[in-house]
């Protein structure tokens, strides 16, 4: 009997805990999952959007583009996110499983940078396309290989092994990176190709952008590829990459915007465009759009209203927040085209 009485305060607490959130918040919560590439800006956006619209919360989980595509196709999340656009098979799969089309909405443009961990090297390294391809193909194994020392005269590179780090999960960032490598290296294109889960010839795997950044940060002599913001936020050194015009360009807002200029003018209706290895002189070669994956038909009217409203907010207010986090704004033409495309959501 004593135990029985003692339980009552516990039961009361339990009731409060379980019911309170439901009672206090007449809120709608949406869930999205996917790309880690834009995670910092998405997280910021969703927080800001929630501040502006206190009755809405959008819970975004960075599980990798592969996860985003899978979960939105299964319908376990309300929207997905990926920087590798869905291919035709995946789009077909979506249509079969969800009974409606999937729409790609570009949100920001970002840069994939080669990060490295060389404590003795103070200046930013210059990477030629051949060097990056060689490193990831496993043909270049030491930091003082001629392919690296050539463009970096005056920098003393150690005679140590290059520890290659790549993504272990299905990744849009990998898609962008391998898309670039396929364009600049026929050997890569033949051996591995463009893929979000490539068969990496060499290297260690980290999960999401965060995992790769973490591994590189901890491992001396490591090289990896992450979205620019991860290098900046974690003060990890990153190098400049030689673009198609022969210039060594360090990732920047301007460089990415230049990369998108040509594509912006000729944006296809489904918005699936690649901007790697752009030909402009100031273009940063490993740049990409990243997309939100939204079903064309949304059953729940409240969720539909929120998603539509968020997309409009994202194209207006949201675009003003991107640069602080080193993501480039969408070109005006793309914004205009997208605003029209929002009406496709039923």
């Amino acid at each position: 009997m004593r135990t029985h009485l003692r339980m009552t305060p516990l039961r009361a607490m339990a009731a409060v805990m379980l019911l309170a959130p439901a009672v206090l918040t007449a809120q709608t919560q949406l869930t999205g999952a996917g790309a880690s590439f834009p995670y910092p800006i998405y997280d910021k956006w969703f927080h800001e959007y929630s501040k502006a619209h206190p009755d809405v919360q959008i819970n975004y989980q960075s599980i990798g583009s592969g996860g985003g595509i899978r979960q939105v196709t299964e319908g376990t999340v309300d929207f997905g996110a990926s920087d590798g656009p869905m291919n035709d098979t995946q789009i077909g799969d979506f249509k079969t499983k969800r009974g409606t089309d999937v729409l790609h909405f570009p949100t920001v443009m970002g840069a994939v940078v080669p990060i490295y961990n060389l404590p003795g090297v103070a200046t930013a390294l210059k990477f030629t396309p051949a060097a990056i391809a060689g490193i990831y193909l496993g043909t270049i194994t030491k930091w003082n290989d001629p392919a690296l020392t050539g463009p970096n005269k005056g920098v003393s590179l150690p005679n140590s092994d290059i520890v290659v780090v790549h993504r272990s999960d299905g990744s849009g960032t990998s898609y962008v990176f391998t898309d670039y490598l396929s364009k600049i290296s026929p050997a890569w294109k033949e051996k591995v190709g463009t893929n979000s889960s490539p068969n990496w010839p060499v290297g260690l795997g980290g999960a999401q952008n965060a995992g790769v950044a973490g591994l590189v940060k901890q491992t001396t002599g490591a090289i990896g590829y992450v979205e620019l913001v991860y290098a900046v936020q974690n003060t990890i050194a990153f190098g400049s990459v030689q673009n198609a015009a022969g210039e060594f360009v360090s990732a920047s807002l301007a460089g990415v915007t230049a990369a998108a200029a040509a594509a912006a003018a000729n944006m296809p209706d489904d918005f699936r465009a690649s901007i790697t290895n752009a030909s402009a002189k100031t273009a940063y070669p490993i740049a990409s759009f990243t997309w939100l994956l939204v079903p064309a038909k949304i059953q729940d009217p409240a969720k539909k209203r929120i998603l539509v409203d968020f997309l409009k907010w994202m194209l207006a207010d949201g675009q003003n927040m991107t640069e602080a986090l080193t993501f480039s704004k969408l070109p005006k033409e793309v914004v205009a085209k997208e605003t029209k495309a929002i009406s496709k959501i039923q």
């Binding site: 592969g66 272990s168 999960d169 299905g170 893929n195 068969n199 260690l204 795997g205 591994l215 491992t219």
Partner: protein, 330 residues
């Protein structure tokens, strides 16, 4: 009318009901409800477990049909080509578990011997209490400590030491980045030590005193008594504890995936990164983009399930005969 019938307050003589009414009364009596309730719960456990096996089996139909037995001998895990083989994960799971046992069993049994034969009872109890508390530390926390504490130590001290002394052997060849089969094995060893120590100590304590006294009376040294009489007597229980620990090691997910390197490859060197069944499921399950992929992961889960059933079964068989369940002894 008789007086009995006209006096409703008078207690009725208890005449047993007959036939249907008796059945109904019995059915709704407290005892039958209680019996139904407890039997129902017991049955529910059976149903849930059957459901578990059924779900695993049904949801792994595609790869079983497509690959059959080849699933267990193929070392290719290629989501793009739709080729899935379990070998790298079986290898990683087995090697890390074996490594953990090789480290933990001698240490654990040694400590168990000390705690049961040599240490004064209060010290033994206190130390065992501490060691058992460590069995309570969750896997993810071992992973946390693995990444930030153990791996740097292994990378900076143990790795170079091993390479310097044993670098010639294929087991310790190749570059070492910290994340590796070696690190995973060491973390697992630390995790399973408490089980081995705790159970071995109990079985050793359960060995009757006259065994020891007999040996000592014959002039054996303490060590000889322990090693040649007590331990063999408790042999089954100790094997049981080893199997229990092995079963735990096989299924460990978080600590392993945080330090093993997550590379689906089979390399002779312990210094190379690897992958385990539990780790690949944890990493790839939410992103497997098509059915064959998901189901291959589920088939891996089925394999792990089967492995742990077998090992656990052996463990129970061995331990059951030698000591009663923990809360009652010592």
């Amino acid at each position: 009318m008789t007086i009995a019938a006209s006096a409703p307050t008078q207690a009725k003589a208890r005449v047993p009901d007959s036939g249907a009414r008796a059945l109904v009364r019995r059915l709704f009596s407290g005892d039958e409800i209680a019996r139904a309730l407890v039997t129902g719960s017991a049955a529910l456990i059976l149903v849930l477990t059957a459901l578990l096996v059924q779900e695993l089996w049904m949801n792994s139909a595609l790869p079983r049909a497509k690959f059959g037995w080849h699933f267990f001998v193929t070392s290719v895990w290629d989501a793009n080509a739709g080729q899935f083989g379990a070998l790298p994960f079986l290898y990683g799971t087995c090697v890390t578990s074996l490594e953990a046992l090789l480290i933990a069993v001698p240490l654990g049994v040694g400590a168990a011997i000390f705690l049961s034969e040599l240490a004064p009872p209060r010290l033994s109890d206190a130390l065992t209490f501490c060691i058992e508390l460590l069995a309570a530390v969750p896997s993810v926390i071992y992973g946390l400590i693995g990444i930030f504490v153990m791996m740097p130590l292994i990378k900076d001290y143990l790795g170079p030491a091993l390479k310097a002394t044993l670098g010639w052997s294929p087991l310790f060849s190749g570059p070492f980045y910290g994340v590796s089969v070696l690190s995973a094995g060491i973390v697992l060893a630390v995790m399973i030590l408490p089980f081995i120590v705790s159970v071995s100590r109990q079985v050793l304590l359960a060995v009757p005193g006259d065994q020891r006294e007999g040996a000592l009376a014959l002039g054996a040294t303490k060590w000889e008594t322990t090693w040649k009489v007590v331990v063999p007597y408790a042999r089954r229980g100790i094997y049981g504890s080893v199997f229990l620990a092995l079963a735990r090691a096989l299924g460990e997910t978080m600590a392993v995936t945080m330090v093993i390197g997550n590379a689906p490859q089979i390399k002779a060197s312990l210094l190379a990164p690897g992958y385990s069944i539990a780790a690949v499921i944890a990493n790839e399950f939410t992103e497997a983009t098509y059915d064959l992929y998901v189901q291959s992961l589920i088939e891996l889960g089925l394999v792990l399930f089967a492995l742990t059933i077998i090992i656990n079964g052996l463990a129970r068989l061995l331990v059951a005969g030698t000591t009663r369940f923990s809360v009652n002894s010592a």
